[in-house]
Symmetry: D2
Subunit: 135 residues, 4 copies
């Protein structure tokens, strides 16, 4: 598969008093990009029926460069690692059409059975589905 790309334009309500995108807001940008990627590549309706949910257990984000009003950002996302019980999506935020990195993050999640609230092993058709998120 190719890398997944989501465009975001920086608006006034994304900014803090220094005129820069606020830290917490980046996590919403990343979440928007992950939902968009999952929407494109995974049958989420089927997962919902089966009572499966992705739950984020760890985020590690570096803020590299401030983004300002009107900046066009591109979030590039791909599954970077799969483990027995968790997986990691790498997400990088660039100024669109440039190599200027604004932020990058590793987002680690587990696949949870909503009823039992237990993390499931990542194997079989779950592993297969996640595999299409690789770049």
């Amino acid at each position: 598969m190719t890398l997944h790309r989501t465009d975001i334009t920086v608006r006034g309500f994304h900014l803090d008093l220094y005129g820069h995108v606020n830290n917490a807001r980046y996590l919403e940008f990343l979440e928007e990009a992950r939902w968009s990627m999952l929407d494109d590549r995974i049958d989420l309706a089927d997962w919902q029926v089966r009572g499966l949910a992705l739950t984020v257990v760890k985020i590690s984000i570096n803020y590299r460069r401030a983004a300002s009003l009107g900046d066009k950002l591109e979030v590039r996302s791909a599954l970077s690692e799969m483990r027995r019980k968790s997986a990691t999506i790498q997400q990088r935020v660039f100024l669109k059409n440039t190599d200027t990195l604004v932020a990058d993050a590793d987002v680690t999640f587990v696949v949870v059975d909503v009823k039992s609230e237990k993390a499931l092993p990542i194997e079989g058709d779950i592993a297969e589905a996640l595999n299409v998120l690789r770049s």
Copy 2:
């Protein structure tokens, strides 16, 4: 009952690029104040058990004066009107310990039966419970 008061300190992440609290953020301040009021005066656990929820159907808010970093705000809330199927809470945001009005809003809600998703008539013990929200 007396007027309900909730304190909020303006933080950096509440501000927009002009250094003022953003429009949407005020709605969170108001919601925080309403939850705090309901928490203090209504048996929310009992309402949840009975499948009752408050659903906002209309908000009308005036932004009177910009609030800035470090400002101490006080949200004063009280039920101002009860109708057959809806009720209104008036909320005013002041600079704490002053008469300087920052914003004021009328928030109209219905009491919904979560199962049927229908608005219930505001009468009997529901009306009684809401009555304690008056100032």
Copy 3:
């Protein structure tokens, strides 16, 4: 001019505990749509150079129908009224490609001179610029 349209897909982080888009979040959807409209039709860079800003003074919003995970929304925006010192943009949120109204709002703003922090009369080239926001 034609009505301005902005698409928004409802994501998990937009929802509250009832699985519906939260009240405050709609104001961000509306703000996103207004920025997008202004971006398309007004020379915002020129306004910034001249020290002009749009400041919202009043929002009146009706929540008509809950929006849920995955819903595709379309915000339709147009200037609906111009007065001597303020103007109003009407914004309606529909389920995309339907006549199902999710929310509608009147957003009233003034044009502020950032230096003096005074509202300017809406006349001359300011009125002209705003006129292109009519549907």
Copy 4:
């Protein structure tokens, strides 16, 4: 100094569709707690006059346990490390009055000269001021 503590009550608008506090929202809780700590212990007005700002460059957060409507949280914050050009604040979110850890984060920041937009060495009176943030 003692550990700094900030209380937060989980409200409806903090939750996502699973009824749990959303990932991005935790970063606002942490930011609220950091501002509150800085407010208590550092002369922020003086820093602002001198054109100094704290800029977050990295956040690493573990989500340990879901928090739900009405939960009382306590954020415990302290400076954990000082380096030549950056420092780290450790923040742990507990269910109040318990040892149940909800989330924990390392937040790394630099001290920026707002005019030059350069990170300053952490030494002299800057290091002294930050030292009071230790537990």
